[in-house]
Amino acid sequence: MSFSGLLIQLLNGLAGASTLFLVAAGLSLIFGVTRIVNFAHGSFYMVGIYLAYSAVEHLAGSIGFWPALLLAALGVGVLGALVEVLLLRRIYHVPELFQLLATFALALVIKDVALYLWGPEELLGPRAPGLSGSVELLGRKFPAYDLFLIVVGPVVLGLLWLLLTRTRWGTLVRAATQDRDMVAALGVNQAWLFTSVFALGAVLAGLGGALQLPREPASLEVDLHTIGAAFVVVVVGGMGSIPGAFVAALLIAELKAICIWLGLVNIGGFEISFSKLTLVVEFLVMAAVLIVRPWGLLGRPPAASRHASAVEAPLNPPGRWMRTVSLVLVAAMTVLPFVTAGSPYVTVLAIDLLVAALLAASLHFIMGPGGMHSFGHAAYFGLAAYGAALLVRAAGLPMEAAIALAPLVAGAFALLFGWFAVRLSGVYLAMLTLAFGQIAWAIVYQWDGVTGGSNGLTGVWPAPWLADKRTYYLFTLALVVAGVWLLRRVLFSPFGMAMRAGRDSPLRADAIGIDVKRVHWFAFAIGGAVAGIAGALFAFSKGSISPESLHVAKSIDALVMVLLGGVQTLAGPIVGAVSFTWLHDTVARNTEYWRAMLGGIILVLVLLFPQGIAGYAQRLIARLPRSLR
């Protein structure tokens, strides 16, 4: 821990901050104007590296290294413009969650296209000509290229500032960021403004990627990693604020650098590994900022949205038709393992479907009637799974007790995280729940002594009387049906009505004596606890548990299930979970490119059936003559 070591780490941090800023600035710009949270932004960054690799390989000889990099960035810009014209223009009017889902699907597609074009191996580009050496600072070597990157960040910030304040286009962008309806009312052609902003954002991400070529290999894994980091930077800096993105990128990159420099520190007899903190430090910063300054460091409180989510139809208690279908379905599922005795895999898959259905139903409970779009719901699923596994393995409790206690574990964590989350709303709430999910994941991933680290825990088997898969299936079925019934029952109770009321109009709810935050806080905890039942069932069905069960990717799977089925219908999450899990299973077994297939299907659904599968079915039923319903 010397001063020169600190200096080198700080410089490293600055170089990292530049790249982070380029990606985040594009994301922030796009969000500011179009209000789209672009999940595919990390993919633009990834494509930037790959395109730069190909451009340098084929064109560096003729046009030179640097023009080839710039060309790659412009190529990403063209891709961005195409995406905007072909996809996003069709979904500006749909609720923001569907936009998220669509851009998420786009990320899946882009990843598989990259896999097809460039293959699964990592590709390492050449060193930058003229900057391949290193510079000596206080007796330590520092790569010259990183010094160059340090300069790039502020230069791009300056150029963006000039563009936004000195040009007519920039004025329009700033005006649209403040009030895009007003800009439209003034007769500005929004279509081209949006396309150009999206293309510029993509160029910035592509440039960030292209400039990484001499430093790190192109790989298929960087997209999710990058989008996570860029989201955090944008939220910390304030959505839509470019200077905010710069400050946040610096702050986060430097904090990481300091954590690496501190390494292992002995404080009062405890060994604290600061270098391990790097996995969560950005999420800790984000959580702290969102709690103290919910609009980010340099952001402004958002103006009241003029197109909030579509109004739901009143919930009706299940009619005779619905009851009959449910009963037939449960009966059919009860006999399922016995009629498919010849193919035991069906039972295994059916357990997965049931667990997914309960997870999706619990997320829908929070998202739909509660109006809280959680992006970290898998945390409660995973924490309960770990809780159950630890109760059996370390505390020596019987399985039955572990399953009974697991939802309480999840509910307790949901109470803790939810207390902070319900203070926010919209995208900010989504990001805070994502941060909590990531923090929970990182702790489980690193706490080798208790959670088994990246290997997870094994030997989590059910009690002997449930050892047979078919019996375990029936046990799962019973608990899942009970869980779904419980959630439905609560939705029709005074508490459930207060949840919906608080979502519809917090002002009115407050004016008739309802403590909206408290109601939503408890709802969050109930949703978390029910996800915990699903988590415990999952752990015992697999016999093992790994950190993946609470990873953000799992949270997003759950989100996709809910949206696929339809947020506005109670049957939606079940339909969505079953179709998603079945699709995932079928597609993944039959093609190498399951992600692209999945992404394509999601895109078709978003474009054609924005109300989800169950929502669409409900519409069809509503068209039937009354006597048939």
């Binding site: 109004v311 739901e312 139809a313 009143p314 919930l315 208690p317 029952r489 609560v490 029709f492 109770s493 005074p494 508490f495 459930g496 009505m497 207060a498 919906r500 009321a501 979502r503 519809d504 109009s505 002002l507 009115r508 709810a509 407050d510 004016a511 008739i512 004596g513 309802i514 403590d515 109601v519 408890f522």
Partner: protein, 285 residues
């Protein structure tokens, strides 16, 4: 001049008998020395007024006079910087809107706020559930709660026939009626209405205010409302108080206010109210 413009220090002495001796009934709401600043702007600058039970009091004034600020301080959405707001002797400043509601104050919003995804009936039932402290019941059936009482309330505002429709489908005038029923579900002693007729057609306006008047009479409830439309104010208010640039400049019956020189000046514009030194006339402090 009415009690509305008495010196604040007289009321601030909190000698209840002082103001009451001259009044037939004890005031329901007593506001004294109320003030609120935003940055350097004194939006409301030490105002005093009170409302008697069963009284329909209109708070009027030109744009930027401080009507909304005053209104939002009374219902708890804004916290006052100074002064006091007492409901039957109990201080309201510092209480959350829902706590003020519990003390018997209902309110309607300038842009009507109802629960769009609930039916008309459920909107009222929600308010009844809250009034009965059933909000945290997890397993009861909400739609079975005091259905008849909810329907009776809807009948009072003329919305019983549409009880089962989703609130999101209603015409705006009807949404305002539903909101009124929701606001009255816990039998408030004081109803606060922020521009109750904004966005309504002339005929609807008079119908809504006639309905409000009828409810005031039936229930002995008091109403404080802000309003831009002078014909509504002069036709339906018992008493009117006038705000201009954060201060009360006049108070009295609609007839008195109509002929009040200061009010005419503010509304019909000599322009002098917008100068630094407004002439000190009758009713100003």
């Amino acid at each position: 001049m009415s009690a509305a413009t008495e010196r604040p220090d007289v009321q601030a002495s909190r000698a209840p008998a002082a103001g009451l001796a001259t009044r037939p009934t004890a005031p329901l709401l007593q506001v004294s020395g109320l003030g609120k600043s935003f940055g350097g702007v004194r939006a409301v600058d030490g105002i005093d007024f009170d409302i008697a039970p069963g009284e329909l009091l209109a708070l009027i004034g030109p744009n930027g006079a401080g009507k909304s600020t005053t209104f939002n301080m009374v219902n708890g959405q804004l916290r006052a910087d100074r002064g006091s707001i007492r409901l039957q002797g109990r201080e309201l400043i510092g209480l959350a809107p829902r706590a003020i509601w519990k003390l018997g104050v209902g309110r309607t919003f300038q842009i009507a706020q109802t629960f769009a995804s609930l039916s008309v009936l459920e909107n009222v039932q929600m308010a009844l559930l809250s009034a009965d402290q059933h909000v945290y019941r997890l397993f009861a059936r909400a739609s079975a709660h005091r259905r008849d009482d909810a329907l009776a309330l809807l009948a009072q505002v003329g919305m019983a026939a549409q009880a089962l429709r989703p609130c999101s489908e209603l015409a705006y005038g009807d949404v305002k009626r539903v909101e009124l029923a929701v606001a009255m579900a816990h039998n408030p002693t004081l109803l606060l209405m922020d521009e109750p007729t904004a966005g309504m057609a002339p005929r609807e306006r008079n119908e809504l205010m006639a309905l409000t008047r009828q409810l005031v009479v039936e229930r002995g409830m008091a109403v404080l409302f802000t309003e831009h439309s002078m014909d509504v104010v002069f036709a339906h208010a018992d008493r009117v108080i006038v705000l201009a640039r954060g201060r009360l400049i006049a108070g009295g019956t609609p007839a008195e206010i109509r002929d009040h020189p200061k009010v005419q000046e503010v509304y019909f514009g000599t322009g002098r109210t917008f100068e630094k030194k407004a002439p000190v006339g009758e009713g100003s402090r």
